[in-house]
């Protein structure tokens, strides 16, 4: 009996392993009845924690819609810029919807779903009293930033600021308000929404011309990009543009109208 059990268990385990190796991730997600999505929790109003401790925002709406379309439960995992791609390739999450810019280097690591679902650029948030006027004014000044942002290197090489990079936005805002840096280098989308919605930024401005426009992508593991899972995600994003779902959710979350979303809507209509 003991040996029979061992053999049965062993073959069952083997079947399971082989089964997983052959099936694609879309099947796995449906079989598990759950999709795990990595989202931001400090990027209001794209992904943030409400006062009740719930995750909310535009990207959480998108994640919810993905789960609904697949007919599965949704689990949200908070990620930051410096760990989200590692989480995805290690299998801790199935999908990234976390304000991630799409570029050549990153395409070698994760499967960037086309079409892009959003677009942002680079700017700084600075106190009006610092009187910054153009990018060159950053030369030699202490500028706060977020570890792992794609534009840190480019801006440092072009304009020569001394970057002071922290792990999360709360640390950066604290350092900026304490005078540890003269500006915060970040996405124009976030800066615009913060200045518009939050009292604490009343004496702050976004002084520069937004640079380096960058399209955002949701991402699946690289090996899934051309498989059924990647294709399904691509269909979903296309549909978001086509039906105007993104424009509607963008407005519902209180974000200023995005020319990129309008353009994509016209294109797929």
């Amino acid at each position: 009996m003991g040996r029979f059990m061992t053999t049965t268990l062993a073959s069952a385990a083997l079947a399971l392993v082989c089964g997983q190796a052959q099936a694609d991730q879309l099947e796995d997600i449906k079989a598990d009845g759950e999709i795990v999505v990595g989202v931001k929790q400090d990027y209001k109003p794209w992904g943030y924690l409400t006062s009740d401790g719930e995750l909310a925002g535009l990207e959480i709406d998108l994640a919810r819609d993905v789960a609904e379309r697949l007919g599965v439960e949704l689990e949200l995992v908070p990620v930051v810029a410096s760990n989200r791609m590692q989480f995805l390739s290690q299998g801790r999450i199935d999908l990234i919807i976390a304000t991630m810019g799409d570029n050549e280097d990153r395409r070698k690591i994760v499967g960037m779903i086309q079409p892009n679902y959003y677009a942002g650029g680079t700017n700084v948030l600075a106190p009006k009293s610092v009187e910054l006027e153009e990018w060159a004014d950053l030369d030699g000044r202490d500028v706060c930033a977020l570890q792992g942002s794609y534009y840190n290197k480019r801006v440092t090489q072009l304009y020569g600021p001394n970057l002071v990079a922290f792990a999360g936005i709360p640390e950066v805002t604290s350092a900026l308000q304490n005078g540890n840096c003269v500006a915060f280098l970040y996405d124009n989308t976030w800066i615009e929404s913060q200045i518009a919605s939050d009292e604490q930024w009343a004496d702050y401005e976004m002084p520069f011309e937004t640079e380096d426009p960058q399209a955002w992508s949701i991402a699946v593991p690289l090996e899934e990009l051309d498989g059924p899972y990647g294709q399904k995600m691509s269909e979903i994003v296309t549909d978001w543009h086509k039906t105007g779902f993104l424009i509607e959710r963008n407005e519902a979350n209180g974000i200023a109208a995005s020319p990129f979303l309008q353009e994509m809507h016209e294109k797929f209509k």
Binding site: A81, S82, M85, Q86, D105, R106, K108, I109, P127, S129, V130, E131, C144, Q147, G148, S149, Y150, N152, K153, Q157, V164, A165, F166, A167, E171, S174, A175, Q177, N178, G179, N180, V182
Partner: protein
Amino acid sequence: MDSTSLIEWLRPDWFFDLAVVSDEYNRGRYLAGLWMTIQLSVISIVLSLIVGAVGAAAQGAQSRTLRALVGFFVAFFRNTPPLVQLYFFYFAIGTVLQITGDNGRPVPLVSNFGWAIISLSLFAGALNVEIFRAGIEAVPKSTVEAAEALGYKRLQIYKDIVLPLAVRISLPALGTNLVNLVKTTTLAYAIAVPELLYVAAQIWSEDLNVQEMMNVLLLSYVAIVGVLVWVLHHWEKKLRIPGYGR
């Protein structure tokens, strides 16, 4: 085999292909990070030794208030995680210790590097107090009494008799603590002091070479700690009194 192909053969390609060797921008940042880690380590080691020696002396003082103060200091820094201390100094005390600049903006009095040095020195210093105290208590009472009989004053006994012996007894434990201190400098990453871990993280999030940078980082620390251990070992050997202790 002619000489050029021999050199070619000896040349370890993987080394020259490393992002911190081949790319000039990354190389500069890496070396600056290495230098920052060395500065943090050396300054904190020196200050923590001073804190330890003064603290241990104060713990042997007659004033009860002074002893209680040192006890509180040691308890505070030994019982809280160094990362929490660092955040506390930088984000809590740093907001109070500031002046208002010309344009109405706050100007911090202590930089992030300054807070890292203060926090690391006090943390390791608190542990050094305990290590030195253990060393002092291990100095035989009879030795101190003999010094008293010879007319030595309290401070003289501490400086010329107790401390030299106590330092020798404390050295192994002190070595462990100082090695730990060097490794703890990586926490300065959290308040954006551009030390080795910080620059490595910057490089790997831009070049996406996490694995390579992890190896570089690990070997860098093996080398830095290796030098420190060698110095301490050398020191221990030099200070050895034949017939005393081992």
